[in-house]
Symmetry: D2
Subunit: 342 residues, 4 copies
């Protein structure tokens, strides 16, 4: 089967690689010809590419499968552009990080032209090349079914994890690593929540490690506490100079918190034990926010997911004004002065 890929950045190229290596062919569109040449050299005849969109579309077999894998901000415009060149029965896939609201709008625009729209939330990051990508899919049944051979090649496959107890026989696609979640938008909706969970789980580890880092506070805080500090009641309880990188490593085997995120954390701490190469300004890319928006719209309590998001905002200095308000209040009612910076 043939895959058309718009955007041969890291993600797009890796998807192409998995598809071609599994026996399919792929056609790529990308403005940077070097990216095309590189893939061509690597994949041989299974791959062809063009820097011209019309030419690219012309190289595709019908019904065309056009997977758009470019930054979310540019996706809408490119889909409109390529749709001009497509025919009824063709399938456009948005595999990027669009908000699912946009899927609904885009699908509605393409529908009158007979073009099918499929949204695929794609997880796996830089490791997807070898690990396979987890695919969360939204769209009509027929086009999604049509894509099945490609999806199977892109996803990790059942061997990537032990089978869930109780699941026997032919594995479901979910066990292979891809799932048709529902109508248009469902793929990005599920991917959005996936990222919301990711934020929460990441923060759980980060907070816990921060507690470990402070386990030696009783030994480190020699001398007096000022009137504006809370004295440590039991310094004898905080006399542990812990090796955080080794602790993340030991948790990787046998513990309840073993996870892929922990694997990555252990690797990062092994490479940079004090995390000196980081400033601690943590970005967020939208999905975490949208998850909270969805929760608020539907009345679902998400105190953990939102706390994780807000910690990122605060890491970027966005709590500063609120903190100044607090200091101003404290000075006003109690004459309290701020402590000097450390």
């Amino acid at each position: 089967m043939q895959l058309g890929m718009i955007g041969l950045g890291r993600m797009g190229a890796n998807i192409v690689r998995r598809v071609v290596e599994d026996g399919h062919t792929a056609v790529g569109y990308e403005r940077r010809s070097a990216h095309i040449d590189e893939l061509r050299a690597e994949l041989g005849d299974g791959f062809r590419g063009s820097t011209d969109l019309t030419e690219f579309v012309g190289m595709l077999e019908t019904p065309r499968v056009v997977w758009v894998m470019i930054p979310a901000g540019a996706t809408g415009a490119v889909i409109e552009q390529v749709a001009e060149l497509l025919e009824p029965g063709d399938i456009v896939i948005d595999g990027g990080n669009s908000r699912y609201h946009e899927d609904l709008e885009r699908a509605a625009k393409l529908r009158p032209k007979g073009i099918h729209y499929v949204d695929i939330g794609t997880s796996g990051g830089v490791f997807g090349r070898t690990r396979g990508f987890c695919l969360m899919i939204g769209g009509e049944s027929e086009p999604v079914k049509h894509l099945d051979p490609l999806l199977k090649s892109i996803a990790p496959g059942v061997g990537a994890a032990e089978r869930t107890p109780g699941r026997t026989g032919e594995p479901s696609t979910a066990e292979l690593g891809y799932l048709h979640c529902g109508p248009v938008g469902a793929g990005h909706f599920v991917k959005m929540v996936h990222n919301g969970i990711e934020y929460g789980a990441m923060a759980a580890y980060a907070e816990g490690l921060n507690v470990l880092r402070r386990a030696n506070y009783g030994a480190e805080h020699s001398g007096e506490f000022s009137a504006e500090e809370t004295p440590l009641e039991h310094p004898e309880y905080y006399q542990y100079d812990l090796d955080v990188p080794e602790i993340t490593e030991v948790w990787r085997r046998g513990s309840v918190v073993a996870s892929w995120l922990l694997d990555l954390t252990a690797a990062a701490l092994h490479a940079d034990p004090n995390l000196d190469s980081y400033s601690g300004r943590v970005s967020d890319s939208g999905e975490g926010r949208w998850t909270i928006d969805a929760a608020i719209d539907t009345g679902v309590p998400v105190p953990v997911l939102s706390s994780a998001l807000f910690a990122r905002f605060s890491s970027r200095g966005e709590a500063l004004y609120a903190d100044k308000v607090l200091s101003a209040m404290r000075k006003a009612f109690g004459g309290h002065l701020e402590l000097p910076g450390e």
Copy 2:
């Protein structure tokens, strides 16, 4: 009636003033003689003082009433010292910010000597002098009853607020601004929770004002968003250059959020509209922490009070390590780089 006061700092001196001005007498102990002289000059014959603890105790009528009003860290030692000089039937009051656990220990030590221990949580800060102090009292009934004339003078009195609908007849002491909350420790327990609430309410205002400050984000954030930023979907919704000081002022009258804390905030913002005199490093003095500890011990959910406490920790840079862990994870799974600092 006579009050003995150990510690003539701002709080102790103001309590002495209220008592003497209301027709009682007071005796003060303070190492800094200037404080004594000043009060003597101000209050005349109603007040005497000494820099010698034994002399101070000798100046007191029995049963002696000794109110200790010094920093929490020093209170325990001073109480032990003065207790050596007291007699059965005397009353020791801890009016400072002790943790209520300590009240239980101290009362147990004084009990065999026949000395009564009373803990009084005192709220009102620098305004207590004129506004009166809110007093939350723990101890046995008899000694607390004995103190009633003094407490009445220190507390604000019923006129400080409109009477609560449904309350008629002789005002209860709660309506006068003081309350015998329960046995030893109850006063500091209630004061502790009072401060826990204070943290939460302060944070509610601070966060809200921070949202107001950002209401012009659509206008301020000109230009592009980077791939590591979430674009503002509707810049047209954030085009308000709000006058935060005036907004806090308007809320003072008729709104649901009118409060004494808001009064102080409006005053602070009037004096320093951009809060330039603050760095935003917010201290916490123990009670907020102990409130969470108590909630955890007894299984009470306090997400708001704890969020307020943790925001103070974060304001002092204590989230930095956790933030670095997050950045390290993001780099590991997605190749994401941190944004440069602003």
Copy 3:
């Protein structure tokens, strides 16, 4: 000056009363004629009303001032209806609880007709009649200026609170209790954040009182703790049978947490000391949600305000599914069984 009021429910009627009693006149539109008759009987010649919208508009002097004070869901349609009957220069006010996004849309629709749109966030609830309403106003300068005499009558006036230290001379309108916050939508934006703060402050009190309620846990929890419970390490610390209604009363005078919300809480607890008349299903009416949405859009951390919102969701049973997921996980990894319900 003359005020036209659409909707003579509690809020609308009380605004009319304040305006007429202050020497202005008012014309009301309301489908329920009894409401009109009642106000007429009460206010005399200063008030006239109609159950017919066209007649109502005909009774207004130009430039007409039409204040719409009806449930948020119906406001849009009524404004469209009445706008058909208005002329250039007339002013439409939305004084209800609309989301400020809608203000922008409505103003844009009215602008071509030369009709001015003003949004007024109105706080004060059932007490506004006597206490005055706090008014947060958005719109163009000219029409807002035109409304000044009416706003002054509706707002509480400077006497409703002590003047903020440092404010002298002629009081600003903020000191009178109303404020022109900015262009269209600014009034509802500020009111939205006001309510967000309100949620946070309310939760701070509620959580604190819940800690007080549990202060007797050591005495109440007689007997053993099961393997699925965390034993209370220090039962001796939780032996206080506190009188929560009296505590809220004592805090009203002199304490840092004195506020109007506390006044109301003390009154509610005086009337129903165990709150037996409440089920604890807490509604939320939108503004709290929208505040979080705005914070998320603009990257402002609001952990306290969001925790307050999510606690309301949870109070309505919306965490149940998440809780079941937790129990299922615990059973899976540890064989833990749920405790029986109490």
Copy 4:
């Protein structure tokens, strides 16, 4: 090498099994003789047991290794009892869920007798038998070193996970699944934080799945919203009837949130797709609480871990009083009535 085990419940028996199957011998003490007989039948000569503590101690080679694996509440008493029978140079291990404070006390009591105390936080739950146990160890270097052969047999071994990139050569013990974290108490400290993280990560999944469950809210909520409800602005965005069990399954392969907890969740949802067998009353067993206590003592912000803990408290009805306070306030200022229960 020989292991003495006090307590042959699930955890103790499984540790014995791993040790004996790996070529060591074990001696068990257990009051329930059936447990001893069962293990004897299963393990043959490698295992002997006694229902008499003195006899048990007599069966041990010196220096004796006595691992205590019984409920945390009983551990202290049993350690005191057995210590009476031990000699200098013997090693007592607390492998249960004690708070690390107790380790410090117990070690101090045993030290004068020349008995070594080692605390081992043990993670792995019911799966540890086959998966191996993750061991976090506190104590002096010599006794911990002495235990090495046993620890190696109990832990999962390096093959249980891919090696962390950059780690080469002889695996560290952390890579084998056990780690000497520091002096006495360090093992239980690290295990405590492990569980704190566990609570946070569990809540992240639970909240996210709850958002998925509600993705069909627009379709489900037919009809009107009452004045006390926030209307759903965009019902068209919530029209997804998602298959939550299949979604947890698809995330197991290739996604960023793949983890052992997710494996368990997928299994639980496969077995009981609607979680009908759970009531949603979620217990907590201490470590999560103690993690927050430690964070508060040392000034570390843990908004996510604490939110997770408080959600468990709320799941058991502990927010009810706070919720009633909120409803009482809402009625007081706005005349709002509670919605009827669903």
